[in-house]
């Protein structure tokens, strides 16, 4: 099973914190390019180990890419626009990181004082000193309710085992795209978007596409900003690695 996932990091915020601390970065002035590179490096290393990457990590990668591009943009903006957009594109992310950090610290503190496995309670009164008629002030309803709850609890557990929520992962999406490209070696990205069942799936498909470009399996072309992307398949082994090809 590939459920090992990012066991070391609780989520994208956790990973970002690790990177910020490792690089001794000021939270108020994060060098997005450096962080983005290291973030992607980590995710890629997981993919190389053939581990599935939880979709939240992919969404964060897309957010970082967006922040990076927005930080490059103002240079090319018209003056009036530049004035209007004064805010730091990192602001929202930093706010979230600071909030998350608070609870990460509290969690640490709670872990130190947690009595589970260490502190035991008695749970039952000493029968010698209580009036049975008072202590057993129950009706058959109580038994029925308790038993119903047990059955429901067990049923829920079973359901949880049976229905595993579908998750989109870059690795599986790359495989899916490759299979599709073999049948249809040229297509528009909008086609993939149309087939997606959620925004998340679109994001994951997009990251998968970037990976395929990097691996030289496809060529992509975008004529205008925000325009559709034309994708061309370069063969199963990619252009560079194609053993049958002679340049």
């Amino acid at each position: 099973m590939y459920t090992v996932k990012l066991e070391i990091f609780e989520g994208p915020f956790d990973l970002l914190f690790h990177l910020i601390e490792k690089n001794e970065i000021d939270l108020m002035d994060i060098p997005i390019s450096i962080i983005l590179d290291q973030y992607m490096e980590y995710i890629r290393s997981l993919q190389e180990m053939d581990l599935d990457v939880a979709s939240e990590f992919i969404v964060m990668a897309a957010t970082l890419v967006e922040i990076k591009s927005r930080m490059l943009l103002p240079k090319f903006r018209l003056e009036e626009e530049a004035e209007k957009i004064e805010e730091d594109p990192r602001e929202e992310l930093v706010k979230q990181l600071i909030e998350y950090k608070k609870y990460k610290e509290i969690a640490q503190l709670l872990s130190g004082i947690c009595g589970i496995n260490r502190r035991f309670f008695k749970e039952e009164p000493d029968l010698n000193y209580i009036d049975k008629r008072v202590a057993l002030n129950y009706s058959v309803e109580d038994i029925v309710n308790v038993y119903r709850k047990i059955l429901e609890r067990n049923k829920e557990k079973e359901n949880k085992i049976e229905i595993k929520k579908e998750e989109y992962t870059v690795v599986s999406k790359i495989k899916e795209l490759l299979t599709y490209l073999v049948k249809k070696p040229a297509l528009w990205f909008s086609e993939i978007v149309r087939k997606s069942r959620s925004k998340l799936e679109v994001v994951v498909s997009f990251v998968a596409l970037l990976e395929l470009i990097k691996l030289n399996r496809v060529a992509a072309e975008q004529q205008t900003a925000y325009g559709d992307i034309f994708i061309r398949f370069l063969g199963r082994e990619g252009r560079k690695h194609d053993p049958g090809r002679q340049d």
Binding site: K122, E124, P125, K132, L136, V140, Y147, R148, E152
Partner: protein, 168 residues
Amino acid sequence: MTQEGKIEAILFAAGQAVKIRTLAEALEVTEEEVRELLKRLKEEYVKNHRGIDIVIFEDKVEMCTNDSYGDIVRKALKMEITQGLSQAALEVLAIIAYNQPITKAEIERIRGVRSDKPINTLLEYNLIKESGRASSPGRPILYSTTEDFLKYFGISSLKELPEIEPTS
């Protein structure tokens, strides 16, 4: 940590009689040494008028309430305890009521947790009883509800237990 402290913690957490041998094994001392420690512990309880006490019978020991405080304990518990079964005990009772006769292993499979303590409590309350042994390997004890169960829960026979379909 002290040796007496260890024994005190184990006896409190057990909530029932514990074998001297069990204590000896846990503390990695001889049974004689455990008996010596228990004697010292009891002396300390008596000397300092503690609210707790221990009773030793044959090869077992159990923590209990110091009976000289019996009156005030009864008075306080009368105000405090209107429903004396823990959630765990109620769950075990419900499982036995609907599946009797049933073994401990089956109860624990349904609940997903160890259930010695609540079973013991229910036996003490006389709400359940041992009713033979299963034919499965090890011939485990089977448990059923008692007449007292019917009496305290206000039904005249088990047939009156409503059927349950798990709703979802």
